[in-house]
């Protein structure tokens, strides 16, 4: 065992001391692209990269999307790849702070990314440096089944405010349709509902303060968010805690539910289920506090170079390749999402066009997502609280007390 340890240490030293041996032109890329569309997009990206750099062989390890979030902590410390998928904003902060991602500001500077990826610069910057390259983002909003609207006799265009939405819900209920569906088994889908209610009730700055730990969970403004949420609970799919987001997609597809607060990545699943551009609708989340600057939710996905990468030079080549406008255009065409590069063109997909329009006119700000803006522990406790609230709204005060306790500890 000792010999093995010595050997391992020796191997480690060797790999650090001699960064890129000539024959070592291999890039190990760990990705969470397990769903069909991302998988296809990444396969294509890697194939194109290998065509452009025939001397580099990219080894892709695909992880299950949910499992990846756990796995990354393990492989970063123990068995590091050269490239890894992750997310922008606070979600990358823990890794940056302990030096698990390397500074790639040079890639930004050399390739003019400050210009072309400017819209995502702030969410990629910590301590004035850039720690990865963003390649896609996508809007969240309300996706709905137009047939269900027709059946219940509701005109989607008439929904402007949250109160409009709630009165529409009554009509859906009368028609035997769940007004709002979601699957909270994996918790995160309902964080989107919370975020939007919060952004519409209190605005972008409040969202950022809350996720940065500057506001108590027992604050009245937080309670106001839950008061709005309580209005829609009677019209929400009852078994949401038992199902995953894909199951909730089926509810929309089958018309047993009308609306779904979800990210644009779900469009592929809706269409797989049989919906088309004719009966799948998209609208921005309705207004709550009148006159509030409109903020939207659009998480950014990124690729980073771990500190333990063995082939940093080629990894930087890969990031530069990924940042280019043509690559982002092509990739996002497959992903069905929005490119970050300002020189890229957005696909002619109606949902993307609507999302792009919505995001580029959002004057309040663009939030990443609750579990990307808040630190992991707070995010987990928060989302569990949201789920409990949805099932047992009467426990709100206890839940907020508990979250406050977590906040005090996490941000100490």
């Amino acid at each position: 065992m000792k010999a093995m340890k010595t050997f391992a240490v020796a191997a480690l030293i060797a790999s650090v001391a001699v960064p890129a041996l000539a024959e070592q032109r291999t890039l190990v890329f760990n990705t969470d692209a397990s769903d069909p569309a991302p998988k296809a997009a990444f396969e294509q990206l890697v194939a194109d990269f290998e065509a452009a750099y025939p001397e580099i062989d990219v080894v892709v390890n695909t992880f299950d999307h949910e499992g990846y979030k756990t796995a990354i902590r393990n492989f970063l410390t123990a068995d590091s790849p050269d490239l890894a998928n992750w997310y922008a904003g606070n979600r990358m902060r823990p890794f940056v702070e302990v030096g698990q991602f390397i500074d790639v500001s040079d890639v930004w500077a050399e390739n003019g990314l400050y210009e072309s990826l400017g819209s995502a610069l702030s969410s990629m910057t910590i301590d004035g440096k850039q720690w990865g390259v963003p390649y896609t983002y996508y809007q969240w909003g309300i996706y709905y089944n137009k047939d269900a609207y027709a059946k219940a006799g509701v005109d989607a265009a008439s929904i402007k405010t949250w109160d409009d939405f709630i009165s529409a819900c009554e009509k859906f209920q009368a028609a035997g349709i769940d007004c709002l569906t979601t699957g909270s088994k994996a918790l995160w889908p309902i964080a989107g509902i919370f975020d939007y209610l919060d952004l519409r009730t209190n605005g972008y700055d409040f969202h950022m303060q809350l996720t940065s730990g500057d506001i108590a969970w027992t604050d009245d403004r937080v309670k106001a968010v839950f008061a709005e949420w309580a209005k829609v609970l009677p019209y929400t799919t009852a078994n949401h805690a038992a199902i995953d987001w894909q199951d909730a997609v089926s509810n929309i597809v089958q018309g047993s539910a009308a609306n779904y607060v979800i990210g644009n990545f779900a469009v592929a699943a809706f269409k797989d289920g049989g919906l088309t551009n004719d009966n799948l609708g998209f609208m921005q989340f309705p207004e709550i506090t009148p006159g509030l600057a409109r903020a939207e939710e659009a998480p950014t996905d990124t690729i980073h170079i771990p500190a333990g990468a063995k082939n940093v030079e080629d990894a930087k080549l890969f990031l530069a390749f990924l940042a280019s406008s043509e690559v982002q255009t092509k990739m996002n065409g497959t992903l069905g999402q929005l490119p970050i590069n300002s020189g890229s063109s957005v696909g002619d997909d109606p949902y993307l066009a609507a999302g792009f329009e919505m995001l580029s006119t959002a004057d309040g700000g663009i939030a990443q997502f609750f579990d990307r803006d808040a630190p992991a522990e707070m995010a987990k406790a928060g989302m569990e609280g949201f789920q409990e609230f949805m099932v047992k709204p009467e426990r709100l005060d206890d839940i907020l007390e508990r979250l406050e306790k977590v906040r005090v500890r996490v941000y100490q």
């Binding site: 391992a8 992880f63 123990a78 068995d79 199951d247």
Partner: protein
Amino acid sequence: MFPRPIQSMSPASKVAYKIALPVMLVLWLLPLLGVAMTSIRPSGDLAAGNYFGIPSRLAFDNYLTVFRNTDLERYLLNSFKVTIPTVIGAVGLSCLTGFALAIYKFKSNLILFFIFVAGNFVPSQILMVPVRDLTVSMGMYNTTMGLALFHIAFQTGFCTLFMRNFIKALPFELVEAARVEGVSEWQIFRHVVMPLMRPAIAALSVLVFTFIWNDFFWAMVLTTGAATQPITAGLNSLNGQWIAAWHLVSAGSILAALPPVLMFFLMQRHFIAGLTLGAVK
């Protein structure tokens, strides 16, 4: 014999018993049968709400789909790469330890024996953080060997208990006779005791195979990704991808369960002997 043999009862009870047997069995295996049925149901049936009726056709191609679209092969292979070395390692080591603890009388014998026994019952969680670090520092994190090494060590506890009790039940005179002949201790182990241990080795191998094949916790702790993860962890991540695709989840589950089930049916006698002999002495 208890209860009273059915043969000595009234013809009516005999018939009742013969009917009750299959009925009970079906009830007992109902969840499993449901999954087996689902695994050969075409996805169209599920979409159309035909969950329990007669499948519109027998979609054995679900099994092909599972192989074609996922890393299932890899996961199964990894499982073998973890399980087989563990069986060899743990059974081999415990032949030695079991022999030492059963044959020799020395002061700390019983204490050592009970340390092995107690260690075997320790919750995995108390070992998790240090074992993960140890594996990382040996450069064996995320390798099938790293996982197998831990399993070998941990299973040695149970296997030692088993082997020691088995050898203890062998006639000690054989060892004494050999010693009088001047046979060396190693030769005694190798040529006197080992041949008699064959049933124990067989039983233990089957048991350890099943335990390790079915391990999930350590696979999650010590491996990540399809390159190294065994089928249990693989199934967990495939389950994350196959949401709402129960025909695939079912087919994958059945494939994952197959090796230990085959092992069980082929080696049934050894398996049951192992479960009961090692523990109940």
